[in-house]
């Protein structure tokens, strides 16, 4: 009665173009959201999403029924983000992205500025690994699945998160003391 994402992906892997289009239609918004979280800039996220969309048909061959489509797709996205970062002399650019995005955003939303500033600063100071992990966790992905997507064990995910959290807490404390 209900066609699951998995059925669609399998049909698409078998050459069903309609199933592929439908699947992409369903997943696109979430994918874009994740790309944004991974890159921190709208322009970067758009480019990354485009890259992923262009490569997705070929990647589809690697989809296996045992895994959820979202897990598979997120893994593709995270890998694509890594490639992109590597190509673009990663960290500086990613951190800049958050800055650019902030500049354009400032004019728009004056009242949420304090929080956005904090978010920008917070994301930019994290390491790539921590940022990826955080991006997934904030997309309501469990530690275990984030581990699978990133290709590390669950403990590593939890550790990275606790490090990121420690880092953010320290930042907040600094702010509070500074204020």
């Amino acid at each position: 009665m209900i066609t699951s994402d998995e059925d669609l992906a399998q049909a698409a892997a078998g050459g069903d173009g309609q199933a592929f289009a439908l699947l992409l239609e369903r997943c696109y918004d979430r994918l874009f959201g994740l790309c944004f979280r991974l890159t921190g800039s709208r322009a970067e996220a758009e480019d990354l999403t485009q890259d992923i969309c262009a490569a997705l048909p070929a990647k589809l061959a690697s989809y296996r029924r045992q895994s959820k489509v979202t897990t598979w797709l997120y893994r593709v996205a995270v890998n694509a983000a890594h490639d992109r970062r590597r190509r673009a002399a990663s960290h500086a650019r990613a951190a800049d992205g958050w800055g650019d995005w902030e500049l354009s955003r400032q004019a728009e939303i004056a009242d949420t500025r304090a929080q956005v500033d904090w978010l920008t600063a917070a994301m930019a100071t994290l390491s790539d690994d921590q940022r990826d992990t955080l991006a997934l966790i904030m997309d309501d992905i469990s530690h275990a699945q984030a581990g699978e997507i990133l290709g590390v064990c669950e403990g590593t995910v939890s550790w990275r998160l606790s490090e990121a959290r420690k880092h953010l807490r320290a930042m907040k404390q600094d702010e509070d003391e500074g204020a």
Binding site: M1, I2, T3, S4, A12, G14, G15, G17, F20, A21, L22, L24, E25, R26, Y28, D29, F32, G33, F36, R37, R42, E46, T49, Q50, C53, L56, P57, A58, K59, A61, S62, Y63, R64, Q66, S67, K68, T70, T71, W72, R75, N79, R105, T112, V116, W118, L119, A122, L134, I137, M138, D140, S142, H143, A144, Q145, E148, I149, L161, R165, L168
Partner: protein
């Protein structure tokens, strides 16, 4: 399983607010690009099957190495054999193939297949290949490629005896050859391509993007801790709001029908109980709009405790007395609604409902996908042709813009509303509120404001997969409406035809229940269900605090399990240093207070009555069976060894009249759950 750490919540909220919506044009362009690439790839896959693989320089290096070192037929045979064995032993496909029944085909067929068409490996038998040992030139590249992949040292191979395959290997090869060529003959190209692709990856040890454990889907449920046992001496008062939603039961049914036990978080026992119509005593004309009935009887799952069943029966106004109705259908037409169980079912459901409306009722339709838009201007319900045409023209596509749609729907409802009419927005969605609405609390406020201005909201959920139960609940509770989940046309019939009057015409607003137990009679008590509806004690008398609505003809049932003083079932020990409650001469178990507002009124009215032990009716027993069933699905911490079998027996014995077959269906679901829980 979702991690919700408090200190990440700030960041999550900030991130949600910061994440922009994808640009519609880019979105369309990206999807078009992907489709183009997809189509292009379909062609090339077929082509690839005809030509040898060119997968990178390392393979050709391997070929050259082999050409220089491997010369004898025997070596060739053995490498092929080893590769074939590797294929059989090292890959899941190979192992499956070994286990398939086999005929007696030529070994050479298999060799030919592998050799002449390495790009696809098992997809097609090579037309020209006859015997493994004959055509060295033709066969040369393939074993080399494969041999290198298996990392077999070629020097070793050339030293091994130049004899035909040993017997065991031959048998294995035979068993492989038949199914493989059989598949190639019968199946169309595309699936074979994917099989081949998979095998290829296994040879590579290529595991990118491949994850083996299943991930839970994106459904989320409003998880609340089960109500704990309360000690009457410490907290004698229990306060909650009524709940006439039924979504939890439909989710349960849809899960069981798919052969899965529902997630424990999805079970809200009050919604299971209130799914069924009960035959309680109706209020006499001129009385309050509803009438409470209280039954106290022995607990089915514990002989030493009792159940207190509080039943409320709403009055049913005559059809002609109902006020005119303004309905705004707010229909989610995002891409995710493109599913037989979603938009098409929705259209059918609304068609059923249309027959129930009267000529003075008005209907408008607002669709939301990408940009919200009014699809049907306010139209009298008698103009069926216009309404049906607008409904049929709806098509799924684009992202979801939940909030934009809601604003427009409320604006439309405001233009339709006249004195003495009932206005209601009916939101139909698959729960995919992914644009502009990531913060349920902000939306909650918005809907609450609209409710106070007189427009109610009901939510109909369609389809499974990304149903966000929590948002549905939040929206309906704050909109003075009901949340129902529609999984089949018969459920649509129940919600939109049989119970339409109750769902659309409120007879009492903000109905709150407060029970005070007598500590001299009741040692402990436990409210079964209503976790998401708990109110603070002081909220009972505060008319500003919102609570559930009672529709025309609705019945609401709440059940407490109480442990009488002195019962062996008492779980807590009496305290040594606290005065024991005075026995008193009252035989009352407790005192029930109900507050409600007449529709449109701002001041609440109070109904109160004491209650004591009485006898059970069949209706009460059936409700108890459903309560027990729900607790079994949640884990049944308080049920002892009471099982599905007992629930089935109890429900069967108290099925009563059951004109629509709802209770019969419940028994079927219990039986399904019983079978599934054994696995």
């Amino acid at each position: 399983m979702t991690d919700r750490n408090d200190d990440l919540d700030d960041l999550r909220a900030a991130m949600d607010a910061a994440t922009p919506a994808p640009d519609a044009a880019r979105r369309a362009a990206d999807i078009a690009l992907a489709r183009e690439n997809f189509a292009a790839l379909q062609g090339s896959r077929d082509d690839a099957r005809q030509t040898p693989v060119t997968e990178g320089s390392s393979l050709w290096t391997g070929v050259k190495t082999m050409l220089t070192k491997l010369t004898t037929k025997g070596g060739l045979t053995v490498t092929t054999a080893i590769v074939a064995c590797g294929f059989l032993v090292l890959t899941p496909q190979g192992r499956d193939l070994v286990n398939l029944p086999s005929g007696q085909p030529e070994v050479s067929e298999f060799g030919g297949t592998l050799a002449a068409d390495p790009a696809v490996k098992v997809a097609q038998p090579a037309p020209g290949a006859t015997d493994l040992a004959i055509d060295e030139g033709a066969l040369m590249p393939s074993p080399a490629i494969l041999a290198e992949r298996e990392e077999v040292p070629i020097e070793t191979l050339t030293q091994s005896p130049a004899v035909p395959l040993d017997e065991q290997t031959q048998i294995r090869l035979r068993s492989v050859a038949e199914p493989v060529t059989g598949i190639a003959d019968m199946a169309p190209a595309a699936p074979l391509g994917s099989v081949a692709g998979q095998i290829e990856r296994d040879f590579d040890g290529y595991v990118d993007d491949a994850i083996t454990t299943p991930e839970p889907d994106t459904e989320s449920f409003a998880a609340a801790e089960t109500n704990p046992l309360r000690i009457t001496a410490e907290t004698p008062v229990s306060t909650f709001s009524i709940d006439v939603d039924t979504a939890s039961y439909s989710v349960l049914r849809s899960s069981l029908m798919r052969g899965q036990l529902p997630p424990p978080d999805s079970i809200r026992i009050e919604e299971l109980i209130n799914y069924f119509p009960y035959d309680y005593a109706a209020p006499a004309p001129g009385e309050a709009p509803f009438r409470p009935t209280i039954n106290v009887f022995e607990t089915p799952w514990n002989g030493d405790t009792q159940l207190v069943q509080i039943a409320i029966q709403g009055m049913m106004p005559a059809l002609e007395d109902r006020p005119a109705l303004n309905l705004v259908f707010l229909i989610d037409t995002s891409g995710s609604m493109n599913d037989a169980a979603k938009l098409p079912l929705l259209k059918q459901s609304f068609r059923l409902m249309l027959d129930q409306l009267r000529p003075q009722d008005e209907i408008a339709i607002v669709a939301y996908a990408g940009s919200a838009g009014q699809v049907l201007a306010p139209t009298p319900a008698s103009d069926r042709a216009t309404i049906l045409a607008a409904l049929n023209a709806l098509a799924a596509g684009g992202g979801t813009n939940g909030q934009g749609g809601l604003e427009q729907a409320y604006a439309t409802a405001a233009t339709m509303s006249e004195q003495g009419e009932v206005s209601r927005v009916i939101l139909a969605t698959d729960g995919d509120f992914n644009v502009g609405l990531s913060d349920p609390r902000g939306l909650e406020r918005y809907i609450a404001d609209q409710r106070d201005s007189g427009t109610y909201l009901s939510v109909l959920g369609f389809g499974r997969g990304n149903l966000d139960d929590e948002i549905m609940q939040t929206l309906a509770q704050n909109g003075n409406g009901t949340a129902a989940y529609i999984d089949t046309l018969s459920e649509a019939q129940k919600v939109l035809v049989d119970n339409l009057t109750g769902a659309l015409f409120p007879i009492a607003n903000d109905v709150k229940i407060q029970v005070e137990f007598n500590p001299a009679m009741v040692a402990e008590y436990r409210l079964i269900g209503y976790e998401t509806r708990a109110l603070r004690r002081e909220d009972f008398n505060n008319d500003a605090v919102d609570a559930g609505e009672l529709g025309a003809g609705h019945t609401v049932t709440a059940i407490y399990e109480i442990t009488p003083v002195g019962s062996p079932a008492q779980l807590s020990d009496p305290l040594r240093y606290q005065p024991t409650p005075a026995a008193g001469d009252s035989q009352e178990l407790g005192f029930l207070r109900l507050r409600y507002k007449e529709p449109g009124a701002t001041e609440s009215q109070l109904i109160q009555t004491p209650f004591s032990t009485s006898t059970a009716t069949g209706e009460a027993q059936f409700a108890a069976a459903i309560a027990g069933f729900g607790q079994l699905l949640q884990g049944g911490a308080y049920l002892g060894d009471w099982s599905y079998t007992d629930a089935i027996a109890l429900a069967n014995a108290n099925r009563g009249d059951d004109p629509f077959g709802y209770r019969t269906q419940a028994v079927q679901l219990m039986r399904l759950a019983a079978s599934l829980s054994r696995n």
